[in-house]
Amino acid sequence: MVSRRSYLRSILVAAIAVAVAPFANLVSFFYRSNAETAQRQKIANLKDLSPGSAIYFPYPKTGDPKIDNDPFRQYILVMTREGELRVYSRVCVHLWCLPTYLPQKGALICPCHGSVYREDDGVAVEGPAAYQPYPTNALPMGRIEVDGNGDIWLVGVEGRIGYGREWKRIPPRDLIRRV
């Protein structure tokens, strides 16, 4: 016979579990919801770009200059020399400096320790970042959509800012959609 006491105790334990369970959601408190993704933001129009040019911008843009100037919100839209569109996080995966686009080299160059990232896929080919193991040797990449008017929208980010991207998993071409 299951004793009455152990039966009551199970109800008590279950009641405490029911009371505590809703607090599991509290975890989301610690994540800033607009931190990385989920915001659709217009960056530029195709008319603003020519092969071998770039536009720098913050994402997700808030209008607060302090937040918009944060290194971790700096992105770059590149039209490669072949005319392909690419968006990269600008935070170097080595020591978080901000690389700039050099059209004549077809690469992003970090001003601090000279890491060189290919314009096609954001993978480091020279400098300290190139020596870091996969997946910490590539810049995070933006997911973009180009609409009928030629407007370019950034809709999300693949990878972790200041850390890297699993670039072998998703080819860069899959991150660009024409709608």
Binding site: D70, C97, H113, G114, Y131, T136
Partner: protein
């Protein structure tokens, strides 16, 4: 009878008694405070000294909060303001910084003294385990603290810490954004919350368990510790560093208690293994020691294996720390300058630790009869000698404090700190001479009493 001074003393005495009586209803009576009447080895109460330095950190840190701004842009500027403009800001910041160094140092010394004297036995396992965890929290507290400056050095440490968190298996990708938030503007506030509240609170809770019931409060030693903080601040004033700028690269080396981990990272060993797994194994080694070393023997002479292990860990810390500071400036790029050849690094580390282990083990296994050196004869001062010594120390203190004031008016705050540190050292000495002369007087009194007593 009934003079105002006398009745005032009576009022104070009664108030004191009244308070002490009522304190018996509180937990404070659980602790047994001992104020040594004579010199005792400071090794025995390094833990209390660590706690006192922690209190100094709490006070100086709370004052720094009045001016510090946890903001990407303003953090560095506010620390610059504290250092250069706020009256006594330089002093406050140096106290806080050097007390943090001293706390790490005292905690490590405390750990090793307790280790070698086998204090983790005799039902002290809980004290030992909480102590090791407190040590780790102390390092994390120091780490989050020096990152708040947001200079190049801080950013290097933040970068390494975030990289390590991200590279942790399974949990990493969801753990790192908790610290990072939406970017550096969030990170600095979160590190601030950790540094000034969450980590100290955890440390206090753990300390409540870690404190043994008998606490030694040695005033001369406390005075010397305060003096050491001031002298360190005077000789090695804390630097402001260069403001973080994502367009400039500089070679920076982390704080001394983290250079060992930095050395592992610079060999190109997989990041998580080098920066987190190996240090964690090191900590686990200490955590499990009481459950492995089950012998009844306490002295380090009687436990050759664990003594050799302890010596090997000290050598390990020393070798990796030295490697961490090593920069080969003959190389062309900063990246090559910082690279450490893994075979050389792990080779030297392996040889040195194994050699030190074997040498120590062999030395203590030989069962040679140890002749303990005779304890040094204590110096006993006559009452008149003690009086003149105390007077001399007092005059020296006045001179050093005057030098401290004078150099402060000359806008030489580090000189001022140095002289004040010397004054605290002298105060420590004076306190010691005072308790010594009291003891001598008591003994002399006892002898006189014995002589007065009629012979039987």
């Amino acid at each position: 009878m009934g003079s105002p001074a006398r009745s005032l003393r009576e009022v104070v005495n009664n108030l004191w008694k009244w308070t002490v009586d009522r304190l018996e209803r509180t937990t404070i009576v659980v602790y047994k405070f001992t104020v040594p009447k004579t010199y005792v080895s400071p090794f025995g109460y390094l833990g209390t000294l660590t706690a006192i330095v922690f209190a100094i950190l709490g006070v100086s840190g709370a004052f720094l909060m009045f001016y510090y701004r946890p903001d990407v842009e303003l953090a560095y500027l506010s620390v610059k303001e504290i250092t250069e403009q706020v009256p006594f800001g330089f002093v406050m910041r140096n106290i806080h910084y050097h007390a943090s160094n001293l706390m790490v140092l005292l905690a490590v010394l405390h750990l090793y003294y307790q280790y070698f004297s086998g204090r983790y036995k005799i039902k002290n396992e809980v004290l030992w385990v909480t102590g090791v965890v407190l040590g780790v929290l102390t390092i994390l507290e120091a780490y989050t603290g020096y990152n708040l400056i947001m200079n190049q050095r801080a950013m290097l440490a933040i970068n390494i810490g975030m990289g390590l968190t991200y590279s942790a298996p399974i949990l990493g990708p969801s753990l790192a954004p908790i610290f990072l938030g939406g970017g550096l503007f969030d990170l600095v506030i979160r590190f601030y919350a950790l540094h000034v509240f969450i980590l100290p609170l955890l440390m206090l809770i753990l300390a409540a368990v870690h404190f043994p019931r008998a606490l030694v409060i040695d005033f001369p030693a406390i005075s010397a510790v305060v003096g050491a903080i001031f002298i360190a601040g005077g000789l090695f004033p804390v630097e402001l560093g260069v403001k973080f700028d994502p367009t400039r690269g500089l070679i920076e080396v982390p704080e001394w208690y983290l250079t060992a981990i930095y050395a592992f990272l610079r060999t190109g060993t997989e990041r998580f293994t080098a920066g987190a797994l190996l240090p964690l194994l090191f900590v686990i080694l200490f955590l499990i020691v009481p459950f492995v070393d089950k012998s009844k023997k306490l002295s380090w002479r009687d436990r050759p294996f664990f003594t050799a292990l302890g010596v090997a860990t000290i050598v390990l810390i020393a070798v990796t720390t030295v490697w961490g500071f090593y920069v080969d400036f003959s190389k062309a790029t900063p990246f090559e300058q910082l690279y450490i050849e893994p075979t050389l690094f792990y080779g030297s580390l392996g040889v040195m630790t194994i050699a030190s282990f074997l040498a120590t083990y062999r030395f203590f296994s030989r069962k040679a009869k140890v002749t303990r050196p005779a304890p040094p004869r204590p110096i006993t001062l006559t009452p008149s000698q003690a009086t003149s010594l105390m007077l001399a120390l007092f005059i020296l203190m006045i001179l050093t404090v005057a030098a401290s004031f004078y150099t402060y008016t000359l806008s030489l705050p580090n000189h001022s700190m140095f002289w004040l540190g010397i004054a605290f050292m002298l105060l420590g000495l004076l306190l010691h001479v005072y308790r010594h002369s009291i003891l001598v007087e008591q003994r002399a009194g006892a002898v006189r009493e014995a002589q007065k007593a009629p012979a039987r």
